[in-house]
C-alpha cells in the first residue's frame, strides 16, 4: 500500500484541529495583511491551506517515513510564510526543521533495519534517541528549542499562530506516538525542565510575541510530562492539553497580532491602555490568558487538572509540584502582559508611530477570526467530557471542589505574586544567554572549520600529489 494511514481518535482530532486553526487564520488574515500586495499577500492567503493539507496528511500517515515527509513539507510551507516577514528567521526555521526531519529519517532508517517496518508507534530503545532528537527540534525540547522564540516572535502573526498552534504540536503528536515504557522517565524530566525554563524565560520578556513563544515551550512541557506518565490517563491528558493549547495559544497570538496592528508595536514597554482602544481584542486576550492560567470554565483548567490527576495517580509528586509552581508563574506572566498592554496608562513615548486609523472591515475580520478559537476554548472548558472520556475519567471529577480550589488557589497566588513583583517585572532585564548563543558559537566554529578546509585547497599541485600518495598508503593499510 502506497499510503498507509493510521486513523484513530488521536490523529483525527489533530487533523480537525489543523483544519479549525486554518479556518481561523484564513478569516483573520485578510484583516491583517491589507497593507500588502503581490507575492506576499498571495502567500499569506493560500499557503495556510497547503500547510493544513500537509499537516493533516502528516498526522494521518501510518508510517514514520510518510509522517516525516509531510511534516517536512508543512515546515517548508511555513518557511515560505515566515520568509515574507523575516528572511533570517526563515532560514533558521528551515535549517532547524530540516535537521529535525533528517534525524527523524535516520531514526526511521534505523527502525527499519532493526524491525523491518516503519509503522508509526513506539520504537525500540536503540533508535529512540534519534526519534526524540528529531521530534525534539519540532517540539522544542530543552536546548533543541533554540529556534522557537526567535522564529515565533519574528514571523507574521497568522504564521505565528499556525506555528504555535499546530506546527509544534506535530512534534508533540509524534512524541505521543512514541509513548512506551522506555520513554517515561526521559519525557517526565524533559517536560518538567521545559515547563520551568519556559515560564522563567517568559517572565523576563518585553516583546509580546516572544513572551507568548516562551509560554509555548512551557505549555509543551506540560504535554510532554503528561505523556511521560505513561498511563492512559496521562496520554489523554497530554492529548487534551495539546488540543487546548493549540486553540488558546493561537488565540493569544492572534490577539497580540491585533494589538500590534492597532498600536504599531508589540513591545510591552511602549504599550498601554489598549483595553480602551480595542476592547474586543482585550476580551479575546482575556479568554486566552484565563485559559492558559487554568481558570475554571476554560479549556486550560480541564486539561491541566487532568494532567495533575495523572501525575498524582502515578505518584510523581515532584513533577506535580513543579507544574503547580509553573502554573503560578504563568499567571504572573499573563497578569504582567495584560497589565502592561491593556490596563495601565499609556506610556508617553514620542518615538511611537502615530496610531493608524482603524479600518473598520479589517478589524471586524480579525475579531471574527478570533471568535472561533475563543468559542472552542470555552466550549472545551465547559464540556470536557470527550477528552476526559478518552482517559477513562469522569467529567465530574474535573469539576470537583478540590480541583477548582487548587486552580483558583494557583490563580490567587499568581495574582498576589504579580502585585508584589510588579515593579521588578516592569523594569528591563539584562539578556541571559540561551541555547541560541550555543548555536551562534557553533556557527562561528563551523565557519572556521570551513575556512581551514579551504586553505588546505591551496592550489599547489605538489601538495595535491602528496595527499594522493598519502591516501594511497592509508588505503593500503586499510585494505591489508
Amino acid at each position: 500500500m502506497i499510503f498507509p494511514v493510521a486513523i484513530d481518535t488521536f490523529s483525527l482530532t489533530f487533523a480537525a484541529l489543523a483544519v479549525y486553526l486554518t479556518i481561523t487564520v484564513s478569516i483573520y488574515t485578510p484583516g491583517y495583511d491589507d497593507h500588502m500586495r503581490g507575492y506576499g499577500r498571495f502567500i499569506y492567503r493560500t499557503f495556510p491551506w497547503a500547510f493544513c493539507l500537509f499537516s493533516c496528511l502528516g498526522v494521518l500517515s501510518g508510517n514514520w517515513f510518510l509522517f516525516t515527509i509531510f511534516v517536512e513539507l508543512s515546515s517548508l510551507v511555513l518557511f515560505f510564510m515566515i520568509s515574507i516577514s523575516d528572511t533570517s528567521a526563515a532560514k533558521l526555521y528551515l535549517l532547524s526543521q530540516l535537521a529535525g526531519a533528517s534525524l527523524l529519517l535516520t531514526g526511521t532508517a534505523m527502525l527499519y533495519s532493526a524491525t523491518g517496518s516503519t509503522a508509526i508507534g513506539p520504537v525500540p530503545r536503540n533508535c529512540l534517541w534519534l526519534f526524540l532528537c528529531g521530534l525534539g527540534i519540532k517540539a522544542a525540547f530543552p536546548v533543541l528549542h533554540f529556534w522557537l522564540p526567535a522564529v515565533h516572535s519574528r514571523a507574521a502573526t497568522p504564521t505565528s499562530a499556525l506555528l504555535s498552534g499546530f506546527a509544534v504540536k506535530i512534534g508533540v503528536f509524534g512524541t505521543g506516538r512514541l509513548v512506551s515504557a522506555d520513554t517515561g522517565p526521559t519525557l517526565l524530566l524533559l517536560g518538567s525542565i521545559m515547563a520551568v525554563y519556559g515560564v522563567g524565560r517568559a517572565l523576563i520578556q518585553h516583546d509580546a510575541k516572544r513572551l507568548l513563544a516562551w509560554h509555548t515551550i512551557s505549555q509543551l512541557g506540560y504535554i510532554v510530562a503528561a505523556f511521560g506518565v505513561g498511563t492512559p490517563l496521562g496520554f489523554a491528558a497530554g492529548f487534551f492539553h495539546a488540543i487546548a493549547h493549540g486553540l488558546f495559544k493561537a488565540l493569544l497570538f492572534l490577539s497580540a497580532g491585533s494589538l500590534e496592528k492597532v498600536c504599531g508595536t508589540k513591545d510591552l514597554k511602549q504599550l498601554g491602555g489598549a483595553a480602551g482602544t480595542t476592547p474586543l481584542t482585550f476580551v479575546f486576550f482575556l479568554v486566552g490568558a484565563l485559559a492558559i492560567s487554568g481558570c475554571p470554565g476554560f479549556s486550560g483548567f480541564a486539561s491541566k487538572t487532568m494532567i495533575k490527576a495523572a501525575l498524582h495517580e502515578s505518584g510523581n509528586t515532584t513533577c506535580y509540584w513543579i507544574l503547580q509552581a509553573v502554573g503560578a508563574g504563568t499567571v504572573v506572566s499573563f497578569c504582567k502582559m495584560g497589565y502592561m498592554a491593556f490596563l495601565r496608562k499609556p506610556v508617553k513615548n514620542p518615538a511611537r508611530p502615530p496610531k493608524r486609523a482603524p479600518g473598520k472591515r479589517s478589524d471586524n475580520l480579525r475579531n471574527l477570526g478570533m471568535v472561533l478559537p475563543a468559542f472552542a476554548t470555552i466550549i472545551l472548558g465547559l464540556v470536557p467530557g470527550f477528552f476526559a472520556g478518552t482517559g477513562g475519567l469522569d467529567t465530574h471529577y474535573l469539576f470537583k471542589t478540590a480541583n477548582i480550589l487548587s486552580a483558583t488557589g494557583t490563580l490567587a497566588l499568581g495574582l498576589g505574586l504579580f502585585v508584589f513583583l510588579r515593579k521588578w517585572l516592569e523594569t528591563d532585564k539584562d539578556p541571559i544567554p540561551d541555547a541560541d548563543m550555543l548555536v551562534e558559537k557553533g556557527v562561528v566554529i563551523f565557519g572556521n572549520i570551513c575556512s581551514t578546509l579551504q586553505t588546505a585547497h591551496c592550489g599547489m599541485l605538489r601538495v595535491y600529489i602528496a595527499v594522493t600518495v598519502g591516501t594511497g598508503i592509508v588505503l593500503s593499510l586499510l585494505l591489508r
Binding site: L73, K91, L95, T106, M110, T468
Partner: protein, 496 residues
C-alpha cells in the same frame, strides 16, 4: 551486434568531422545534430539491449577468453542511459552557444561520448584502461577548450592527477596480469581468489586509488572543483552530470566483481571515502562565493552519497546509488546550465555580486530553485528519495555513521543553497519592484537549453514520485542484483 555500434558510431562521427571541415569551414549545426542523434540512438539501443536482454558481443569473432568482449547488462544500461542523456543535453547546449564553429571541440566531444560507452561496455581490464585514457584525454581537452588561463591551469592539474590515477590503475592491472595472466573481467573473480593476500592488497589499493582519483572522491578530489569551475557551461554540466558517473560505474563494477568475494575491505574503504566526501564536499561548498565552484564542491558531496550507496555492498545499496547517480545527473546538469545562463546574463559568477544585479530571467531562477530544492532533498523530489534510500540501506549494511553524515550534509547543503537561491530570487524580486520603465523587455526567448532544463525539472519531480512506485523499486533492485551477481556476469560474458 548493436553493442559495438554504441562505441563505433560516435568514433566515426569524430573521425568524419575533420573531413567535413574541409568542405564547410563552419560545420552546419544540423550536421552535428544528426551525428549526435546517430550516436544517441546507438547508445540507447545498446542500453535497451542491456536492459531487456543482457547480451555480450564478441569482437573479431574470437572466443571470450582470447579476444575482447563487450557486455551490456542491467548495471551498464542505466549508466548508458544516463551518459547518453548527459551527452545529448550538453551537445544541444554547445550547439546553441557556439554554433558549428569550433569543429575540433565537437570532434573531442564525440570521442568522449565513444569512450564513455566503451568504458561502460567493455569486459576486459586493459581495454577499460585504454578507453579510460581516451576519456581522460578528451576530458582534459574539453576543460581547456575555453582557452582561458584558468582553464589551462585546471586542465594541467586535471591532467597530472588524472595521469597519476591512470598510472595507478595500470599498475593494478599489471599486478593482476602478473598474478593471474588474465585480463578478462569475467574470469578474474575466480582467478583472484588464489592470489596471495599481499598482492591482493596492492591490486585493490592501486585500482581503488586510481578510480577514486578519477571519480573525485574526497581526499583525492582536488582536480574536480578546478576543472568544473573553469570549464565552459556545457562542459561543466557534462563533467558533473555524466563523466564522474562513468568512473563511479567503473568503481562499482570492478569492486563488485573482484573484491566482493575476495576480501570485502574495499567496500569499507569506499564507504569511508563516501562519508568523507559528503562532509568535505559540503563543508568546502559552504563558504564558496563562486557559484560554479560551489556547485562543483556540491558534486564532490553528491559523489559521496553515491559511494556510500556502493559501499553497502548489497543489491539494494547499489540500486540506491545508481538511482542517486541518475538523479544527480538530472539535478546537477540542470543547475550548471541554468546557473551558467544566469551568470552570463549577469556577467559575474560571484554570489555576492549577483545580489546587486537585477535583470535575470525569472524562469531560469525558478528552474534553478527546483533543482536546488531537489539536491538539498525536499521530499517529493528525486534527490530526497535517493538520499533516503541510500540512508536506509547504509544503516542496514554499514551502520549509523554514514546516515548521520547524510543528515548533516542535508542541513549544510540547505544552508548554502539557501544563500544562492535567496541571492537569485532577491535580484528578481528587486527587478520586479524596481522602476518599470527601463526593464529591457527582451521577451523571454525560449532557448533549447531552457526547454531541456525545464524538462529535467519535471523529471526530477516524476522520478521522485516514481521511486515510491513498487514496480519501479523492483526494477531498480534488479540493477543492484545484477551488480552483485558475479556468476551471472561470468555466464553472460563467457556465453555458458
Amino acid at each position: 551486434m548493436s553493442l559495438v555500434l554504441a562505441v563505433v558510431t560516435p568514433l566515426l562521427c569524430a573521425f568524419l568531422i575533420p573531413v567535413f571541415h574541409l568542405v564547410w569551414k563552419t560545420l552546419p549545426v544540423c550536421l552535428v545534430g544528426v551525428m549526435g542523434l546517430a550516436s544517441l540512438a546507438a547508445s540507447l539501443a545498446a542500453a535497451c539491449t542491456g536492459w531487456v536482454s543482457p547480451a555480450a558481443s564478441l569482437l573479431g569473432g574470437w572466443p571470450p577468453d582470447l579476444g575482447i568482449v563487450l557486455v551490456a547488462d542491467r548495471l551498464a544500461a542505466p549508466f548508458m542511459l544516463l551518459t547518453s542523456m548527459g551527452v545529448a543535453t550538453s551537445l544541444v547546449c554547445s550547439l546553441e552557444k557556439y554554433g558549428g564553429g569550433p569543429w575540433r571541440y565537437y570532434a573531442i566531444f564525440f570521442l568522449l561520448a565513444a569512450s564513455m560507452n566503451g568504458i561502460l561496455l567493455t569486459a576486459d581490464l586493459f581495454n577499460l584502461f585504454v578507453f579510460y585514457e581516451i576519456f581522460s584525454v578528451a576530458a582534459y581537452l574539453l576543460v581547456a577548450s575555453s582557452m582561458s588561463w584558468q582553464a589551462m591551469e585546471a586542465g594541467l592539474k586535471y591532467l597530472v592527477l588524472g595521469t597519476m590515477g591512470a598510472l595507478f590503475f595500470l599498475l593494478g592491472t599489471a599486478f593482476i596480469f602478473m598474478a593471474t595472466g588474465i585480463l578478462n573481467m569475467a574470469l578474474l573473480p575466480e582467478a583472484l581468489s588464489v592470489v596471495p593476500r599481499e598482492t591482493l592488497t596492492v591490486i585493490s589499493t592501486c585500482l581503488v586509488l586510481g578510480l577514486a582519483l578519477k571519480t573525485g572522491a574526497f581526499p583525492v578530489h582536488f582536480w574536480l572543483p578546478d576543472a568544473h569551475s573553469s570549464a565552459q557551461t556545457p562542459v561543466s554540466a557534462l563533467l558533473s552530470g555524466a563523466l564522474v558517473k562513468v568512473s563511479v560505474y567503473a568503481l562499482t563494477r570492478i569492486s563488485c566483481l573482484f573484491f566482493l568475494s575476495n576480501g570485502g575491505g574495499v567496500f569499507r574503504v569506499i564507504t569511508i571515502m563516501g562519508v568523507l566526501s559528503i562532509l568535505g564536499g559540503h563543508l568546502m561548498a559552504f563558504r564558496q562565493d563562486d557559484i560554479k565552484r560551489l556547485l562543483a564542491f556540491s558534486t564532490v558531496a553528491q559523489i559521496g552519497y553515491i559511494l556510500v550507496g556502493v559501499g553497502c555492498a548489497s543489491a539494494a545499496g547499489i540500486a540506491a546509488a545508481v538511482f542517486h547517480a541518475i538523479n544527480h545527473m538530472l539535478m546537477k546538469m540542470g543547475l550548471f546550465i541554468t546557473s551558467g545562463d544566469i551568470c552570463e546574463r549577469v556577467g559575474t559568477r560571484s554570489i555576492r555580486a549577483i545580489k546587486d544585479t537585477a535583470g535575470v530571467l525569472p524562469a531560469n531562477v525558478a528552474i534553478f530553485t527546483v533543482f536546488a530544492l531537489a539536491i538539498v532533498g525536499v521530499p517529493p523530489l528525486n534527490g530526497f528519495m535517493s538520499k533516503w534510500f541510500i540512508m536506509l540501506f547504509s544503516v542496514t549494511d554499514t551502520g549509523l555513521c554514514p546516515a548521520l553524515a547524510i543528515a548533516a550534509g542535508t542541513i549544510i547543503s540547505a544552508a548554502y543553497y539557501y544563500g544562492v537561491v535567496s541571492a537569485l530570487v532577491g535580484s528578481v524580486v528587486r527587478r520586479n519592484t524596481g522602476s518599470p520603465g527601463n526593464n529591457d523587455l527582451d521577451s523571454p526567448t525560449v532557448s533549447a537549453s531552457s526547454v531541456i532544463t525545464g524538462t529535467f525539472a519535471v523529471l526530477c519531480l516524476l522520478a521522485g514520485l516514481a521511486a515510491l512506485w513498487p514496480p519501479m523499486q523492483s526494477s531498480f533492485l534488479s540493477i543492484g542484483e545484477t551488480a552483485v551477481d558475479i556468476e551471472g556476469y561470468a555466464r553472460l560474458v563467457l556465453g555458458k
